[in-house]
């Protein structure tokens, strides 16, 4: 068994996959260096140095075989941060290289493919929920600020949605767990990676004067649009799982 150690980046992973083929490794696992704890001292390790030309060659090949959508699925699996992401991606790519004329991602009876399909479904669901549950709060400096804490790393997947939608206001979405965010400054929307965690404890003090009013209006609206005679909390919680409540202004 050979263990390929990569730096945890998307390109790193695909460089590693390139090298699996390059060095004709048979019995191989790919492991994120940060998560690597050597269990078997006799196992051989191979340090992967991220090289975008290698990763791009793999991605290009995959795009030929599986289309843009197929490649997008691998990205979603990567962003899921699933503990087996390297394994299922490698398995699918091996299958695709063997059967270049088939869309092996539709082979739903294969366990690894099915796992990819399941992960993609969960990631899609969460990015969709993020487009819904992000709540912007207007700050004194006119930036609309939102903090999120999703289970999967979905920021890269929702950037376009928000960039398309909000072009005439400055906004920022910040992932508390992963300590990075997107900032739109009326020109471009870019990722930013602060060196220290953003201090958000008393950020309410910096609210724009009108912010509290609109929050109250929204909370009143939320209460008033409910039909008491039809109350169904179980269904409510099913649609808005409790772990998302912390995002929601109406769930103050």
């Amino acid at each position: 068994m050979t263990t390929l150690l990569y730096d945890g980046s998307f390109d790193g992973l695909f460089t590693a996959i390139f090298e699996v083929f390059e060095y004709r490794y048979r019995d191989v696992e790919i492991v994120n260096r940060e998560r690597f704890h050597q269990k078997n001292i006799f196992a051989e390790t191979h340090e992967v140095i991220t090289q975008t030309d290698k990763s791009e060659r793999v991605l290009k090949k995959l795009e030929q075989n599986l289309g843009k959508q197929g490649v997008h699925k691998f990205l979603k699996v990567f962003l899921s941060e699933d503990s087996e992401l390297e394994k299922v991606i490698l398995s699918a790519i091996k299958q695709s290289v063997k059967n270049p004329d088939k869309n092996i991602l539709e082979n739903y009876t294969d366990t690894n493919i099915m796992k990819i399909s399941k992960i993609c479904k969960s990631v899609d669901r969460e990015s969709h929920r993020m487009t819904a549950f992000v709540r912007f709060e207007k700050m004194q400096d006119d930036i609309f600020f939102s903090k999120i804490d999703p289970d999967f790393n979905v920021l890269p997947l929702i950037r376009k949605h928000f960039s398309d939608r909000y072009q005439d206001q400055k906004w920022m979405i910040y992932d508390l767990r992963r300590n990075y965010g997107i900032l739109y400054d009326l020109e471009t929307s870019d990722f930013f990676y602060p060196e220290e965690k953003l201090e958000i404890k008393n950020y309410q003090d910096k609210f724009h004067d009108e912010e509290k009013n609109y929050q109250t209006l929204w909370q009143r609206y939320f209460t008033k649009t409910n039909i008491v005679e039809r109350k169904n909390l179980r269904l409510h919680v099913q649609h808005v799982p409790k772990r998302y409540w912390k995002y929601l202004t109406e769930k103050w």
């Binding site: 009876t109 209006l217 929204w218 039809r230």
Partner: protein, 419 residues
């Protein structure tokens, strides 16, 4: 802006609008322009859910709850002694924009009680939409209620600024409407719909020839029927829906279980329960017509004019047509696979893809996300299926109902996982 007064108005006018269920934002096609606000995606987004489990995607308000009419089923009716309020055009616009900027909503659903007359009311609704589009550069979703009897000119203008328009049929039968809303007539409701429908067809024709034509109600029309306020049966309701889908190209027909809020001897008593399960069955039937290729006549019979409350309409159809089963999962065409109980549109598509790689068995179906507990009695596999011996079993229905974890799980809303 007087915040306290605005808050009070919002409370009154959201409360009065809440019974209208036609509030999805799907079907929007408006792309944002550079530097402007808003974008409507085709599928729409539910930004939150009320405690009754219904999706909130639009700011749904009445412009006013003053009304000259006296429809028995409506809380805003003139003889009801309630607080009245009216938004100014500016207030409605301001709420929409500020809610949208905070990502609370996909847009606005604006309806109104009828004050003075149809045209005055319609004109005010149009002004809100116009201001949103032209002055605020807003490209989010706008749904306007067409006021029965509004003139063609105003409808024309409404369609230029709104994404969707709707007239609520409210009462499925003419006799019911006569009883509960004697001042209204079907013709007044239908004529604005007819006008918009013609406009949409003309717009589509022009679009084929010219590149740039102004948008005309791009998300189409919808309507709503109240269920259980009069004694109509389900067959009548489904027939009305079918008629509107076919003859008016409606995008959606909504069904709203009557919530008894008013004392009136023409109406069910205040203690009557909201017919939520019936409403749910109607939505399921509606899906069968729109996505599963079922015809209205297949769903209900004149002999049994009500939907079965125990089992969903697709299963009910299957139980009445056992001769069409078992369906061979490996060879049957997609349309027939769709008719297998327990298999939804997504699983059906996956089956058709996956069977090109492999001969499928029951485990595979489970993996694909089909509801195998139900499907297993109706399917044949190349390798055979031991459950088929129950297909002609007297107690098949019982067997199927016992196999469900929770009988009415997840069924009290229009946003459901169906089948």
């Amino acid at each position: 802006m007087n915040f306290d007064r605005l808050k009070e108005k919002l409370e009154i006018l959201a409360d009065a609008a809440k019974y209208d269920v036609s509030c999805s934002s799907s079907g929007g096609t408006r792309k944002n322009k550079k530097g402007a606000l808003g974008d409507s995606s085709v599928s729409g987004i539910c930004h939150t859910y009320t405690e009754d489990g219904r999706c909130v995607s639009l700011l749904k308000i009445l412009l006013t709850n003053h009304c000259i009419y006296d429809c028995a089923y409506c809380v805003s009716r003139s003889s009801n002694d309630i607080k009245r309020a009216a938004f100014t055009v500016e207030e409605a616009v301001d709420l929409t924009i500020n809610f949208y900027r905070r990502n609370y909503i996909e847009g606005l659903f604006l309806s109104s009680g009828i004050f003075k007359n149809a045209d005055t009311t319609m004109e005010r609704l149009v002004r809100v939409a116009k201001k949103l589009r032209l002055e605020e550069n807003f490209n989010g979703y706008i749904h306007l209620k067409s006021i029965p009897g509004a003139s063609d000119d105003l409808m024309q203008e409404a369609a230029m600024y709104a994404d969707r328009l709707s007239v609520n049929i409210e009462i499925p039968t003419e006799s019911g409407l006569k009883l509960l809303a004697p001042e209204k007539n079907r013709q007044d409701m239908i004529s604005p719909m007819r006008y918009i429908q013609k406009g949409i067809i003309q717009y589509q024709d022009e679009k084929k020839i010219l590149k740039k034509v102004p948008k005309f109600a791009p998300a189409g029309q919808s309507t709503q029927m109240i269920v259980g306020a009069t004694n109509e049966n389900d067959l009548q309701i489904i027939k009305v829906a079918d008629h509107f889908y076919k003859n008016f190209n409606l995008k959606r027909v909504y069904y709203s279980g009557y919530v008894p809020v008013l004392e009136d001897n023409r109406l069910p008593s205040l203690t009557t329960e909201v017919p939520m399960l019936r409403e749910n069955r109607l939505y399921q039937s509606d899906w069968l017509m729109r996505f599963y290729g079922f015809k209205a006549e297949e769903i209900l019979d004149p002999n049994i004019p009500f939907l079965d409350l125990e089992v969903d309409p697709k299963l009910s159809w299957a139980l009445r047509h056992l001769d069409q089963f078992p369906v061979n999962i490996q060879t049957a065409d997609y349309q027939m696979i769709l008719r297998i109980p327990g298999i939804g549109v997504k699983s059906a598509q996956k089956i058709v893809s996956a069977r090109r790689f492999q001969v499928l068995n029951l485990d595979h179906l489970r993996q694909l996300g089909a509801s195998v507990n139900r499907a297993k009695y109706f399917i044949d596999f190349n390798a055979g299926n031991p459950f088929l011996k129950y297909l002609t079993h007297q107690n098949l229905k019982k067997l199927l109902m016992g196999g469900r974890s929770s009988k009415f799980h997840n069924q009290f809303s229009q946003q459901l996982t169906l089948f």
